[in-house]
Amino acid sequence: MSVGRITNLMTTNQVLSDINQAQYRLNVTQEQLSSGKKILQPSDDPYGATRAVDLNGELSGLSTYASNITDGTAWTTASDTALQSIQNEVQRVRELVVAAGNGTNSASNLQAINAEVTQLTSAIKQDANTKYNGQYLFSGSATGTAPYTTGSDTYQGNTGAVTRAIGPGTTLQVNADLSSVLGSGAGANDGKLLNVLADISAHLTSGSASDVAALSSTDLQGLDDNLSTLEQAQTSVGATEDRLQLASTRISSLQTSDTATLSNVQDADYATTLTNFSNEQAAFTAALKASANIVQSSLMDFLQ
């Protein structure tokens, strides 16, 4: 500024405007320090603010995926427990069938065995009707319908998939297909577990030599076949659990990196901000001191 004359009002105005600016800058760094954020309003950094909004949305999406994964894991754990229990029950039936098939049992013995088989059958159906969070685990996507009802072996559900979104664009089927193991009983004559169990019960009830022989041949074979499909179902549930575990690790590492990025974008760096703050404070104090000295002196101080 090439200015010849400097008037008192100019000096005063200049000092005032310098003090105001110093105070404004001090105030900005103070706000950054107290809020811990360098973007308080979009205009502080329009692009940064856009990124912050995006990242906040992404983080919220990730925590939704995380809760979906937790829900899926609970679902598969409950399925696993139910399938394990069904397997135990089928093993017990197998022991009973082996014992009944050796041809040395009295009719009353066979009746007693039959009573236990019937009980185990209804326990298997009960396990198939396991619920998690009010939803049936094994009725396909018809989670409001019980897969089996008392008095009927007919499967009530469908073959639909229950899925959970476990990542951006990634969904995972969490329900196991138990109907392909249990089937729809004697009426359907599908050779599945409930059909085999109904046959066993019928053979035990009649107790005839040919029926008892069938117990240790076709029935035993049927049980073994169904046990292996049951194991397949268990393996697939285990695989789903593994995938959920992996997805959970991935989501939490994404959360960590997004949080770090968000912090880079919107959080104030304390070292820098504190240094700026001390600078601004020093500048402000200096401006105040200077004004106190400059404005006071004039020619009048030296005239008599």
Partner: protein, 435 residues
């Protein structure tokens, strides 16, 4: 040699008067050192017409001119009119930018981002609620949570839009207040017209009404903050003032023509307010953009719900509302699968979210560019004002120096007078009386 006896006394008297005028003017300057709009004044001096001493008593025969002291011609203002023009043009620009920056700052406050209570947070919660519904499609509490999150989202859209609309209508109210009869424009114009009359009377009487001119310049400075002005000085001393893009001059002589129609091209505070309050102005554009985002949310969610029972009603940020109830909300295409709810949840991070973050960027850019032009405008204005102050402002050191100069001049003139007095005393009382 005939020189009138009292010539010396007259010269001394003129000297006394001129120096007194100097002292008084210096006093006036000092007194007004802090008066806004004051222009320092200076006494313009000239040599008084000289006395011709006839030739016969002169050696060369041509006669001589004897100086008769000093005359005060005028007391004038020290002011650069070119700087006034610059100052006023820049004052309009600066106050235009300042108004934009402060009003758009209010819009930014209304948008309230980045935060945990704004639209983006409400939108995230809405998508999460749908995801939870997808996990338990028949749960009444999950259904209720979706409805509530949707209502929160709709209300947040409504309230942000209505706050922006309020800022917009406040701008329009402020414009109306400033331009109303008896408002600031007409007050300034009336005062300028009144000063025009007084100035023209004084000018015609051959005077230089410095303090009235200062008052008028100060009013013109203030008026320039409201809109661009152009001032034409007439030969009778009055100023004709064109105001913004009004058809007729606002002030011409003693006549004020107001109210008149202005447009946003008028500049200054009024131009900025007109631009901001217009539906096609900056706030209007931002509101349209926000409505666009609301429209995206509405159409994206409704597209996944049955046409007979849409989730949202309305088509803009101000009209968006939840029309679904827990009984009409559709989470699954077949009972219990939750697939539809999952598809809605999958909208998270999609077009509506991206649209909104772009909107936040738009607001941020608008405010930050308004703020930086306001900052530039005000620093340019203060630079011009400094130049003007440098020419017209009162420097107390300078005035003190002048005061001493005039004081010494007065003292010397007084000494001159007493010397002449003693000379005359010798002539009248001591010459010839004793003989």
């Amino acid at each position: 040699m005939t020189i009138p006896a009292y010539t010396g006394l007259q010269s001394a008297l003129r000297g006394l008067e001129a120096n007194q005028a100097g002292i008084d003017t210096t006093g006036h300057n000092i007194a007004n050192a802090n008066t806004p709009g004051y222009t320092r004044q200076s006494v313009d001096l000239t040599e008084a017409a000289s006395l011709t001493i006839p030739a016969f008593s002169n050696v060369t025969g041509g006669g001589v001119q004897l100086g008769q002291g000093v005359d005060v011609t005028t007391i004038s203002r020290i002011r650069d009119q070119f700087l006034d023009i610059q100052y006023r043009a820049q004052n309009s620009n600066s106050s235009n930018a300042q108004t934009q920056s402060s009003v758009l700052g209010d819009v930014q406050t209304a948008v309230d981002e980045p935060s945990t209570s704004g639209i983006s947070a409400a939108m995230s919660k809405f998508w999460s609620a749908w995801s939870a519904l997808g996990n338990s499609p028949s749960s009444p509490s999950a259904q209720q949570a979706v409805i509530s999150a949707g209502q929160t989202l709709a209300q947040t859209f409504n309230s942000v839009d209505s706050q922006m609309a309020t800022v917009q209508s406040q701008a329009s109210d402020q414009y109306n207040t400033l331009t109303a009869a008896g408002g600031q424009v007409s007050q300034y114009a009336d005062q300028i017209a009144a000063l025009n009359t007084q100035i023209s009377e004084a000018t015609q009487a051959g005077q230089s009404p410095n303090d009235l001119l200062d008052q008028r310049d100060e009013l013109l400075d203030k008026l320039s903050g409201l809109a661009q002005i152009s001032v034409t000085q007439q030969s009778d001393g009055t100023d004709t003032v064109k105001f913004g893009d009004a058809a007729s001059p606002l002030v011409s002589g003693s006549t004020v023509t107001w109210p008149q129609t202005l447009t946003s091209a008028s500049g200054g505070q009024l131009g900025a307010l007109l631009g901001l309050s217009s539906p096609s102005g900056q706030i209007g554009t931002l509101r349209t953009a926000l409505s666009g985002v609301a429209g995206q949310v509405i159409s994206a969610v409704n597209a996944l719900q049955p046409a007979s029972s849409p989730f949202f009603s309305g088509n803009s940020a101000s009209t968006i509302a939840v029309s679904a109830t827990t009984s009409t909300i559709t989470a699954s295409s077949s009972t219990g699968s939750g697939d539809i709810a999952q598809s809605v949840a999958a909208l998270s991070g999609g077009a509506p979210d991206q649209g909104f973050s772009a909107f936040v960027g738009q607001v941020g850019n608008a405010v930050s560019s308004a703020q930086s032009s306001a900052a530039t405008g005000s620093s340019v204005l203060s630079a011009i004002d400094n130049q003007r102050q440098s020419v017209s402002g009162v420097s107390l050191d300078e005035e003190m120096t002048n005061l001493i100069t005039f004081q010494r001049g007065y003292e010397a003139s007084a000494r001159m007078m007493s010397t002449i007095d003693s000379v005359l005393n010798t002539l009248i009382n001591n010459t010839g009386a004793g003989l």
